[in-house]
């Protein structure tokens, strides 16, 4: 009589229950980005005002790259946070994703423009290369243009303080190579 075997289903059950319990608190909409640690993709697009822009325009300093659009309700919600961070000196670039240029220009004029460089991506081609599946998405890139982190969803004070600020500060204080 080997009663130890009877404990195996119990252990399996406890293990699975623990995993499923943990699963309750995971957000399935948050996908790990395939691009972390990879260079920001090259692109040949224009700014909202029509100047040609490439990847180099985003380099030089660590920055947040925010994917936004006027059609995106959540982008309006996070806009005040971005504006405040920009005033505090955080470098923020924008990618105007699948949007109408006139509407985007109007939005920036009325709501404050937190972006240093704003790439217009009307066809979503850069968005595709970035693996964007829903705005807003915010990438953190270092001075060399390597993607270090990605946040999907609204950037609010909580997200900034908990997820982005420590990483951004670490990049800023990284000695230049």
């Amino acid at each position: 009589m080997n009663r130890r075997w009877l404990a195996v289903p119990l252990l399996l059950f406890v293990g699975m229950a623990a995993m499923l319990y943990r699963g309750l608190y995971l957000d399935p909409a948050e996908l790990p980005s395939a691009l972390i640690g990879k260079p920001f993709p090259a692109f040949a697009l224009t700014s909202l005002s029509g100047q040609p822009l490439g990847r180099e325009a985003l380099l030089g300093r660590p920055a947040l790259v925010n994917v936004w659009g006027t059609w995106c309700v959540a982008c309006r919600e996070e806009h005040p946070t971005l504006a405040r961070l920009a005033r505090q000196g955080v470098v923020i670039h924008g990618i105007n994703y699948k949007d109408d240029t006139a509407a985007a220009t109007q939005w920036l004029r009325t709501l404050h423009n937190p972006y240093q460089v704003n790439v217009s991506d009307p066809q979503g081609t850069l968005g595709l290369d970035l693996g964007v599946y829903g705005a807003p998405e915010t990438f953190l890139i270092d001075a060399q243009g390597v993607i270090r982190y990605k946040h999907v969803g609204i950037v609010d004070d909580h997200v900034w303080q908990r997820e982005l600020a420590p990483r951004y500060q670490a990049l800023v204080s990284e000695p230049a190579p």
Binding site: W5, V8, L12, L31, P32, A34, L35, Y133
Partner: protein, 151 residues
């Protein structure tokens, strides 16, 4: 009431129309490959739908992109790699066998094996029913089984 049904019918019409896109293919093999690929790849936004099934704008973009890549002569593997490079292993319903996914692939087999072993041992351990019949009962049983009992 009639207006209600009309509105409902119109809503359905909109939904039905949304999924219709026309892609030109050189041959039926390509068409079949496209259908298979869009079924095997997952929409990143609406996570429980494949790309063929989803009406999300991102799914439409990715279908268009897959069509473009195919027309440009990329193989199925190249198309999948292209999407995985951007959206991660997540977009595949059949992820590659690697360090992060081996549990997913082998888990069911391991569970079946463990369950089978436990079940087998439990069943074998159970002692067979020890019933002994008297000679008279034995004789009656034989009668019953033959169907010749008449009392």
């Amino acid at each position: 009431m009639r207006a209600f049904w009309l509105v409902l019918a119109l809503m359905w019409a909109g939904m039905a129309q949304a999924a219709i896109e026309t892609y030109g293919f050189d041959n039926d093999v390509q068409r079949a490959r496209f259908a298979a690929l869009t079924r095997e790849l997952r929409c990143p936004k609406c996570q429980n739908q494949d790309l063929a099934d989803s009406n999300a704008p991102i799914a439409a973009d990715l279908r268009r992109e897959i069509h473009r890549l195919m027309v440009e002569g990329n193989s199925d593997e190249q198309v999948i790699t292209y999407l995985v490079d951007r959206y991660g292993e997540f977009v595949r319903y059949k992820p590659a066998f690697e360090a992060r996914t081996w549990v997913l692939w082998l888990g069911p087999g391991v569970f079946l094996l463990v369950g089978g072993v436990i079940g087998y041992r439990l069943l074998r351990r159970r002692s067979p029913l020890a019933v002994t019949l008297t000679d008279a009962e034995q004789a009656r049983l034989a009668h019953v089984l033959k169907g010749t009992e008449d009392d």
